[in-house]
Symmetry: C2
Subunit: 226 residues, 2 copies
Amino acid sequence: MSISAKKDSCLTCEAKQHSALCSSPEVVRVIDKVKVVCNYKAGQIIFQQGQDPLGLFAVQSGLVKLEVNSMDGHAHTLRILGPGGIAGYRSLFARETYKANAIAIEDTSLCYIPKTELFQIFAQHPEATLNFMQSICKDLGSAEEKWVAQMDKEASERIAEAILFLQDHFNDQKWTRKEIAQWAGTTPETVMRTLAQFEKEGLIDQAGRKIIILNRPGIQSRSTHL
Amino acid sequence: MSISAKKDSCLTCEAKQHSALCSSPEVVRVIDKVKVVCNYKAGQIIFQQGQDPLGLFAVQSGLVKLEVNSMDGHAHTLRILGPGGIAGYRSLFARETYKANAIAIEDTSLCYIPKTELFQIFAQHPEATLNFMQSICKDLGSAEEKWVAQMDKEASERIAEAILFLQDHFNDQKWTRKEIAQWAGTTPETVMRTLAQFEKEGLIDQAGRKIIILNRPGIQSRSTHL
DNA sequence: CGTGTTATTGAAGTGTATCAAATTGCGTGG
DNA sequence: CCACGCAATTTGATACACTTCAATAACACG
């Protein structure tokens, strides 16, 4: 694996502000000692379906997506993680093998935290565990919401929702139609046609691959059924 | 609220075998002291969307479903809980109001555990917390799997999956077509037609509302795409 | 400057929701 | 215990949003 470790201190890490793991200064101090920083180039695979989790990965900088490959060759994006996001925790805590692939969308630095050290932290810092549980439960909420949206909302509504979400959480990112489709649960063609429609209505502007939202309330209303 | 409390000991509770909460004898002892047993009749509402979580509910006996009502009047079943299942944890730990309704499908006994006592348990028993996290992460896995299935699988495949799941997890239960539909993410009509098809193929037998699986491998193969 | 990927547009096919109506089943109260 | 009425089941017809397939054009990248 092309993993290059680097000495990087948690003291200077900005991502910890948004991380469910780095809840208190004390915990950060421990993590600082046990973590291993790994760097990935865009497109590189961090872990793969079927492998055994040995720890988890905290995004320091960059962007990571978790996706599943269904048997018919289609990929679906479960979660997208920016700085502060944690990858690999679900399988680790469920005591299963990975169910999804983790892929670096852009050049990314991760902090790898071995599971034994992690469990020690949790054993000694109950508040940290509770804090992490909050994050997991929010993810669960998002997942269940997504399932419901898949049925109740039309493709165009999910796409409107998607571009708002992607814009808000990961600023100035140029997503491909395919990536938007895999997140919104539809096809690149449908994304294409929907965006063209939005543009025609003056809701957005497409400068090449970049999507500029001209009328935010308009897009928001297009993201809700009824 | 028509809640009738009853003195019931955790010692004699069989549900604790399957509960993520009652992990160790010590924890059970504490829970035994702080819990309040509540009884609900079939159809009764345990909690509702928008309310504030004050604790969580462990199913002692009976059956509970968690469902969301989308704006267009459709209901979707997120999770179904038998004995040992925990209701209300997601919103509690996410520190949000309830996003779903919890409804007793059949006559049900629940153990209500107030949140302050719960957090105390978690603070003093890290293993219990980890154990609970495993359960949450499995739920997250199921939720994400369900979203993917909603796209990749045809309605008939999801229905095949549904009757297997419902059969395996909640034995000898007579589900309505509507309930199956709300779990499988489709409509009662489609469930109807699919079950008729399965019956015609000799895969199942419908004795009124009860579904008997005649050819289990056959149904399993019908539940997987390709 | 090729070459593979992404974008774009068109046409065609279809699974499934939706609507409607008839029938059965079942709980409830008289 | 029967009759009533509401809920669930069943079947048919219709509609349509979206996927799928295909083919060209525009990029990006080494």
